[in-house]
Amino acid sequence: MPLNKDATAAIDVRNAVKRYGDFTALKTISLSIRDNEFFTLLGPSGCGKTTLLRMIAGFEDVTEGAIFLFGKEIENLPPNKRPINTVFQNYALFPHMTVTDNVAFGVQRLGKSRQEALRRAGEMLELVQLSQFAERKPAQLSGGQQQRVALARALAPSPKVLLLDEPLSALDLKLRQAMRFELKEIQRETGITFIFVTHDQEEALTMSDRIAVMSSGEVQQLGEAREIYEKPRNMFVADFIGETNLLEVFVDKIVEGRAMCHLGGGHALTCDAVEGVGEGAKVHMSIRPERLVLSETEAPENSLRGTVHDNIFVGTDIQSVIDLDDGPRMLVRTSNSDRGKKHLFERGATAYVTMEGGAARLLVD
């Protein structure tokens, strides 16, 4: 067995490549997923999330590279020999079996007695609060209940790792939000490593310990939710996660870790320098709209003059669209609860857009 660097990793994907004919679905993926972690694979449709999950489950083979489960290579283990269970996107509950039999199925296959399996199924149904539906067939349950049965069924054999492929995507918004908390709660209670796949960035941000942002078969950035949101590494991540202002800037000078930049119209900005962006570079800068403040007077630093183009009501916030003088358009978000304190600017009024410290982030490529 090859020497492994990280024995505590639940799943260690090393330089894994997946090709279908000449189409490369995954290009050299390396990920280390810790034990007891709620790990999320986030990315747009077609980026290879399901493919990676199916490789971990054992339904697809790895073209190049290897996958380790607690330090052991699992390449040669078929799906039914891997202590990994899956919550399928369409649930795939066995339609001819009752809810209890569905949940007991995996436990029984592990060689436990029928009684033991039924006891465990009862326990799991209690965990997902479906005990009263134990004798029903899957077709007699609502979508949300089926989703919970699928979860109970996958948890019942106590897998080392649980894979969840967009399990909430078929539910309506309210239920989806409720299930986020429930899933997170269950993950904490059971201590099982969850690998969760979604294309919904809000879902990823609210639930995950760590997130891997993927696009076109590559991991773009891996980190904690906050880090990914506040310090996106590149254009793709900044744009995909949340809403942001992407500005084209020129880096004039770098002094003591601060980059002095200017953008179209001659507006000057100073922000933290990042590795990979040097003096004279022409790159993009990301600034989250909620970290900008509007004022009538110019602030001492990083304050850009513009005209209010429009104000848009978006429920909890008001979004102001500002055209910088001779420069690009910017979005500024003001929380509705701050309305009393802050002045709402009329359309056509002159306003200064001021950045909070650390709000601007230079992006590589």
Binding site: A57, F59, P78, P79, N80, K81, I84, N85, T86, F88, N90, A92, L93, F94, P95, H96, F105, G106, R109, L110, A139, R153, A154, P157
Partner: protein, 268 residues
């Protein structure tokens, strides 16, 4: 709106429909009605009676018909069972076996017999049996029936299996089932309505077959269709109408059953 302008109305459609129905069903109705005739004549009505049904079971030809019916049912059950097992395995291989090289040829080969004229199959089988020295009797009939029943059993089974997503089996494998368990515990129960439909269809096709049976049966071995044909050659007596009516009833019962079963969908 005037009826003439209704796009759902085609001139001449109704009379044509009635003509078709008349041609199709009048002979059957006549046979059914006259099977309850008191008279010995097959064309004049002499009052209601069940005497021809009694005649079938006790009359001079009863021994012959009982033996023929027995043969027919034994062959139909054996042929349908064997054909269904083969068709189920074939469907599993063709639909679930992934993309193997002989997939398309297998699919063609299994449904081709439906397109070969029955008389050609009959002659071919007869020549083949002679060629290999297979002496004719029950066994030759049975083997022939198994062969032509396979595609009929295959169709409903394959249709059913195509409707079952393979994520069920993947879920079973994911939950530590062996491939065999995934097949027996998940796929097979889900396919059951298709299998039963296929079985009943094969059964009816076998029970009903005349041409092939007539060619490959040995001397003295009769099935119901060949026995009826033999009897009719001697002149039509009303007891033939009683047998035909009973056979029709059995067929209708099985077809109805098959239809009802194919409608029950356990995946919904």
């Amino acid at each position: 709106m005037k009826r003439r302008n209704d796009i759902k109305h085609y001139t001449g459609f109704l009379p044509l429909t009635l003509l078709c129905l008349f041609i199709l069903y009048t002979p059957l109705i006549v046979v059914m009605v006259y099977s309850f005739n008191e008279s010995t004549s097959i064309t004049t009505w002499g009052g209601f009676s069940l005497k021809w049904y009694v005649d079938v079971f006790t009359g001079p030809e009863s021994a012959k018909f009982k033996q023929a019916a027995w043969n027919s049912f034994v062959i139909a059950i054996a042929a349908a069972t064997t054909a269904t097992i083969i068709a189920t395995l074939a469907a599993t291989a063709i639909i679930r076996g992934g993309r193997f090289k002989l997939r398309l040829p297998s699919l063609g080969l299994i449904s081709l017999p439906l397109m070969v004229p029955e008389i050609v199959t009959a002659v071919a089988l007869l020549i083949f049996y002679n060629f290999i020295g297979f002496s004719r009797g029950m066994m030759t009939i049975l083997v022939a029936h198994i062969v032509f029943c396979i595609p009929f059993a295959y169709m409903p089974i394959a249709a059913r299996m195509q409707g079952i997503e393979d994520t069920y089996e993947q879920a079973a494998l994911d939950l530590y089932a062996t491939r065999f368990e995934a097949f027996t515990k998940i796929l097979l129960p889900l396919m059951l309505p298709g299998i039963i439909s296929g079985y009943l269809l094969a059964f009816i096709i076998s029970l009903d077959d005349f041409i092939i049976t007539n060619f490959v049966k040995g001397a003295g071995v009769e099935t119901l269709p060949t026995a009826i044909f033999g009897s009719v050659k001697q002149g039509i007596r009303p007891n033939i109408m009683a047998i035909s009516t009973m056979l029709l009833a059995v067929s209708m019962l099985i077809v109805t059953l098959s239809y009802l079963i194919s409608k029950t969908d356990k995946t919904k």
